[in-house]
Symmetry: D3
Subunit: 255 residues, 6 copies
């Protein structure tokens, strides 16, 4: 049996349940998914400061999860703390948005990204460019929809989403479109029949890429961290978090 | 049951068998793999001109394969004609080298690539940069090994390969290394215990990514090709090749 | 006397005649131009798959041309197989679109490109960016005109072309505009008086650059190909094509 | 009087004292500097995970500082949480490494960076490239020196540092060199007489740039954050941290 | 006392007075500013040819200034001859537009630039991209305003300026906006209350950055120029200009 | 008859004669070349400050040339003032180094550049990158040779040059090498038989590209300069220089 750990970097447990349900819909037959939720921070991260807090919260939530797992899906759409988790864990780690972007690159040349909340557009832009995907990113669009507004007026947000996707296709040459943001989860199934390009979602992409990485069964990199000139002293963190960052054998062999 | 089609763009059937064996080693339980070999061109493509011929040969080989399939693995390490196949088929298509590079990007920040044959280094360099991966590519190294030299002196080529990998790790900061080229197939298993970073191979990466794309079950893009201002007239091609390029329903629904 | 070989990678002999006539209009006094046409593939290449076929057809057409020549103009506007021809021939080879782009860079800082057929825009975009010209490319525009539509309604396509050029000048800051595509050939003369920037055409640019390269009389590069660790075995190709790719002295000294 | 707040994202108070002393050495006549230290995390951050924790710790430390201030110097050499602080504060915020890099760009065309600890090199590389400084970065070098090793064998680490600087000057064309890392603080004064290019230090650069930004007296950007479609709910954070992230008037007008 | 030399590369002494007044408004208490004006060339440089002339005029004007100074502000908004002055002087040199751009990068992620005169937009675009700031430049806009038109119809040009700034903020995501061009000087104070992002001006930014560089008191780079294989012979230049370029001690120790 | 004007931006008339002789060696049968020399500045420009002066001197020298001409070759290897000349003249203008680089791009994928004088390497690097040729530039190397040292010890400088070229070929993958700098002129003929890649020289490349541009007979761009919001007032320049910059009909129709 394969065990995935889904980490929601937002503190909203409602969102965690929604993300978990979507993940289970896409998981393979023999895959069991556990979900943990950030114990502190914003219910829905949408600015730089709460994203910084979410970094700590993602590490903390993983550290507090006792049961073993074979891979981690970082289920916060800014892929918060993904690189840090890779450094301290010995299992594959993938962020939901990088997962969707990478799948998009295997489908067509250039992809677009739609997100809710205009304020987050620069954050997504920076994250995706920092992945080195400038040449593959056709464009970004924001709509003004959240879990709340979507529940209040679902048709309105779907109309806006459809318009944004078509704008990315017609005017930017997007050959695939990533729907980014937890509040988008599942909407790709509703919109897909209405648009001419594949829609990608971080949760389904992430679950599938992680199952693949588990099968590849690669060793973790030993390049860094084995011969540090200096041993870090940690303080003020929770016990599990301290263990995780200390690179204790228990932490690095969490399988 | 899932059916993969492996297309060897080299004309060497020995290589096809080796690639097929490697692919089967990594395929999921319910996956059946067929392999087709280029009907014309070079036995092992290692220059620009024979790579151009291989483009035609890859399309031709796929066109002549009658049985249905769910995805195509382009098993020639310059990923020849991958984009063209995506355009004419309605199933996922992945090249072996892009598969390994994309997996590498999910493991660490920057990766290196080792290939046999110094003459092919610029071809790999161009291909990988044209994927937009400049920011993720730490470096490239060539060793002078082929199927022939490797069989004649296997220890020598493994020593050279080990040195090239370590050079990419120590001097270029590679956090993962892709072994590119059909003659490398399987060597990643021999070298992995000797090096401190994950080694990636296009066949295993490609099989696993394709199984994932099949599960995602995305529609093909309808952006282009549906409203051409001009209907192309094809001539001088084999019947199956003409059908494939004509976008006949049979071709586009080969599932 | 200088002998140019013009290779049309499309199978349309009507187009070949048109391209040849344009080339002769620009050739120097002492230049004789021969033209060969692709023996197989699409009459007018406008998608990735037929462009892949055209690569083989360009090599094949050059291989079947018996008479000696001093340079080759690849007269298919995606510059198909240009790099492969450079590898196997010992004479200068230039693609029509790269020729026009390079001339544009000697005239002003940034240039635009207009092409017929919206579906081909991504193909031109990729080709030009792969030349490394991102910093010089101001923008791309497509009109919906082909040889057919232009003959049916010449005024309409010229109006569309004029609008596209002005858009590139006014909104993108293009200081020169390349008209790309065989069906555009000659239109630059009609449109030039109506627009405020120089218009460039691949055939005139290519003929003139090739005459210059012949005069420079540079040796071919011996960097690659002279000490291959492995001798490629070719099969299934026409005799002339096999000879061309085999690097037989006859092929490499076709002057 | 101008009041600077220096935030050490490492938990070592010894380092804070050293950084504060260096800052006071460079501060203007009428400048008073307060220093706060991370309340949790690593004593000296040198990996991705503890840097993620430091993000939270930087916000937390600033939030707990009650006295008013006119600008913030983020005195952890990966410039941790700088962008997040800019978002929630209404005063200028500068990171010590960006400060040194920006000063370097006003002195010459390309600069190099030397840091202690080979493991941190990729972290600096990513940070500086993410600033968009690829064209200005001549190269990076790591020496193996820390506060500990430097105290144990100061001459050894200065010899290594001198060699690294000269390597960046001679082989990479660096016209200025940034010494990055808290353990480097003050070494620029020792090494400067021995090398032919200006040496830059984040603390002196940061203090001076911040004094300048205070004098410019620019308003903060109101582009984002004023019309959010959704009000974030924070939980599990300390009271001051919650206030800081809530954008309460008290937080945003801490001057 | 600190002595700044402001060099106007335009020949208009009216503009020099305006720039000097603005500089004095921002200078520190103990700073004395002298201003010199180009002795030949265009009154307001707005094309490439007069900008080339201005390069000579800037060097000439500095050379003819006898009194000592501690830093030079190049007060022509294309930052003409800044790198050349750095080469021959032993004091800090900053251009007004680079100063504003660098300050913008310390305030937000991406900035926009507004300039008068559509014809100069490509010149600013090239200059800023050549600084390596592609990733930070959100966009450029030109309005049609000059000192003349602004005096004739000040409200009109401010309306146009406001519209251009808002376009950069709303449509390009600019988090700060640089007003470039001598005729813009001072307008940032009028417009700032009307727009939601900080406005930057080259004179205030330049004065403040130079005061900071003087305080850093860095040595000049000795990398180049000390061991030339060849001693240049100068002719046809004014005496002071010849001395300046000859690297005479007087020139290189003008403090 | 075709008339070229060669402008030497260095004041050395010996160099002008050498450049003219090389140009005449490559000129077509019906081409007459006139040469003008900078009237002021450095005899051999090798630093930024004298290059700035050379910009004025190039414009001045062209302005003082009374006889008509059909194209201008800027024969100073930093291509000084090329863009400014394009702006004020109505005939083609090409710089010698851009000419060689552009020819190199039509021969192979990546090229290297060798120059005399290590101090000038950053100047060439900046110029070539500012042309947008980053993707095509394999590397740069400097040797320590000048006209003087070459005359004193010709064998030594050729040995150094050969070593630099081979370094660019073997270690950087250069498929062609540009010899930059007036003192290199003619050496490409001596070295070509000894190296495996084509050597390019700015004078031969420039003459040939200009003859081609003359044949293309393109109009000049009218995008800029026709509707300036402000008429520049020039002062302090020589009469011919003032006329040239004033865009007087005489200047713009110098053919």
């Amino acid at each position: 049996m394969t065990r995935l750990l889904l980490v929601n970097g937002n503190t909203s447990k409602t969102v965690t349940q929604k993300l978990l349900a979507e993940a289970e819909r896409h998981a393979g037959a023999n895959v069991q998914i556990s979900a943990v939720t950030a114990r502190f921070g914003a219910d829905l991260v949408s600015d730089r400061a709460s994203n910084v807090i979410a970094g700590h919260a993602v590490l903390d939530a993983v550290a507090h999860h006792q049961a073993p797992y074979d891979a981690v899906l970082v289920a916060i759409s800014l892929d918060t703390a993904v690189e840090a988790l890779r450094e301290v864990l010995s299992v594959p780690v993938v962020g939901m948005t990088e997962a969707a972007c990478w799948q998009a690159c295997l489908i067509g040349n250039r992809f677009g990204v739609v997100m809710p909340d205009r304020n987050t557009l620069p954050l997504y832009r920076e994250r995706i460019l920092n992945y080195g995907l400038r040449e593959r990113l056709a464009g970004l669009r924001a709509i003004e929809a959240t879990v709340q507004t979507h529940h209040a007026a679902p048709v309105d947000s779907e109309v806006a989403l459809h318009a944004a996707i078509m704008d990315l296709v017609v005017n930017e040459g997007s050959e695939a479109v990533v729907l980014a943001g937890a509040s988008m989860t599942g909407l790709q199934r509703r919109l897909q029949p209405l648009v001419p390009v594949p829609l990608l979602d971080g949760i389904s992409s992430g679950v599938i890429l992680l199952e693949g990485l588990i099968r590849l069964n690669l060793p973790i990199s030993h390049v860094n961290g084995d011969a540090k000139p200096y041993t870090t002293i940690l303080s003020g963190l929770s016990g599990p978090c301290t263990e995780l960052l200390s690179g204790l054998p228990s932490a690095r062999t969490s399988i």
